[in-house]
Point group: C2
Amino acid sequence: MITFSEALSYIEHAIKGIHYPKQPQKLYEPIAYLLLLKGKKIRPALTLLSCNLFKQTIDEAINIALAWEIFHNFTLMHDDVMDNADIRRGQPSVHKKWDENTAILSGDAMLILAYKYLAKSPVHNQKELLDLFSTTAAEICEGQEYDMQFENRLDVKEEEYLNMIRLKTAVMLGASLKSGAIIGGAMEKDKNLLYDFGLNLGIAFQIQDDILDVYGDPSVFGKKIGGDILCNKKTYLLVNALNTKDEKEKKELLFWLQTGNNQKEKKILEVTSLYDRLLLKEKAHEKMEYYYRKSIRKLNKVNVPVEKKIVLMNLAKELMNRNS
Amino acid sequence: MITFSEALSYIEHAIKGIHYPKQPQKLYEPIAYLLLLKGKKIRPALTLLSCNLFKQTIDEAINIALAWEIFHNFTLMHDDVMDNADIRRGQPSVHKKWDENTAILSGDAMLILAYKYLAKSPVHNQKELLDLFSTTAAEICEGQEYDMQFENRLDVKEEEYLNMIRLKTAVMLGASLKSGAIIGGAMEKDKNLLYDFGLNLGIAFQIQDDILDVYGDPSVFGKKIGGDILCNKKTYLLVNALNTKDEKEKKELLFWLQTGNNQKEKKILEVTSLYDRLLLKEKAHEKMEYYYRKSIRKLNKVNVPVEKKIVLMNLAKELMNRNS
């Protein structure tokens, strides 16, 4: 069995080995730039670890693993344009370092590159991988669309929010795991259990992200605390706060949502204190735990010896206890 | 053998039958909108006609034919954002009718949809189709990148221009034809001859486009005459005009390139007259004829009875004699 860090090294090595055409430079440079920024690389790692549950050699899974990582970074490149986000992983985002057109076109080339890596997978797995990949990719676009629509809404329901993060974030974790199981030659039932493990873990992961933005430790959290609050991002916390039945609290929240960022520190402080009063940190933790436990139940049911599942089990646990 | 118009009806019927998820509407509506605008649909027709050279039933080719048409329209959706083009086929382009983010994200979903249709092709052809499709798609992005770079250059060489249109326009015609031959079960040699037929026809087609923009009949040409001149678009004519050794003519051309569009009619008139003096219409026609003849030679070599090739032969001829 390989460890998580062995999986990461394998992936990082493979990313460094990606061959780009020399010309036109401006099309391919941004792809290499984004892929080489420090990222978690959870998705390709899940693919390799999932394959390893069923097969000792994971070499055949590296190409679909890379396809997920390339696809994930493609979504970041385009999302940063759409969301006007200037910083990505502590560095200038592609549309900032180059320009918008470059980010659009390099992103397109990146999506195509992901399919090129998919096509390097064993031929007898290709039809299944292709269907899984395209279905998942389309769902992620749907998730981004809902996320953008939520920007202009104050009446997002909790279940709408959960559906959005399922599409935007969670399905890719599920599909990364399932694709590894496909390459590993798993039974249909186990493939789907691993998908569900990833799906539920992904939802828990995103709620965790929402919590960390407000309650994370500033000394270890990669981004500035309160970033979501400052840009009125619809998070699990904000959606629930907006749905409070307490009219006074809601009025105060709406006041802060309309406040420009000339009172940044105060806005973060006041909204956080409102979340505190509404016990939303606790509510979010509970929800996160719910999906986390559900994910573990799915993993437990996968029909392989329990000792083989320890790496994935520990990875899930670490993701839930992370502080960045 | 099916005729060109039978191929078109088949494609139009299939496009109308595309199933889009109901939600989120804003993601899928622009895709249907663009696909239903009146377009030539040459690429999918080439796929069906090419398949029909080798096989009586063309049903198995319809999905990859649709994939090309969807992909082609995806490039239009994103190119219109990058080129700031507000009109497409006489109607508002997607980023104008909706907004830029919608055009970016719906375009992404459209590229994924193209791969979904590719994946409906017969399994034993998929690996070959997938490689051809992704290679071609990446080349088209490269072509768009060069096209954008040319906007800021006055020293584009004729061969650079020809390489750009090869990538941006011609490879997709070649690949559309080749994919039909793949489904039809053609020999390697014939697949490649059909690719080369399309490639050379595509280059001729684009040079023809450049000519029509200046010398087309305004009563039948779909767009306004002189559009390329007004936006200083690097066409075969402009690239050659800029490379003239006649310093006086070049100076005049540079003057008109720097002239804003407050003298639209005069600019079109003067640049056209300059093209006339430099005999560029004739030069372009000659070049177009060169690639057209080359394309026909490739088609002639395809190892099927000549009567089967008449439809493609006539289609090529019509494309060269078109006036819109």
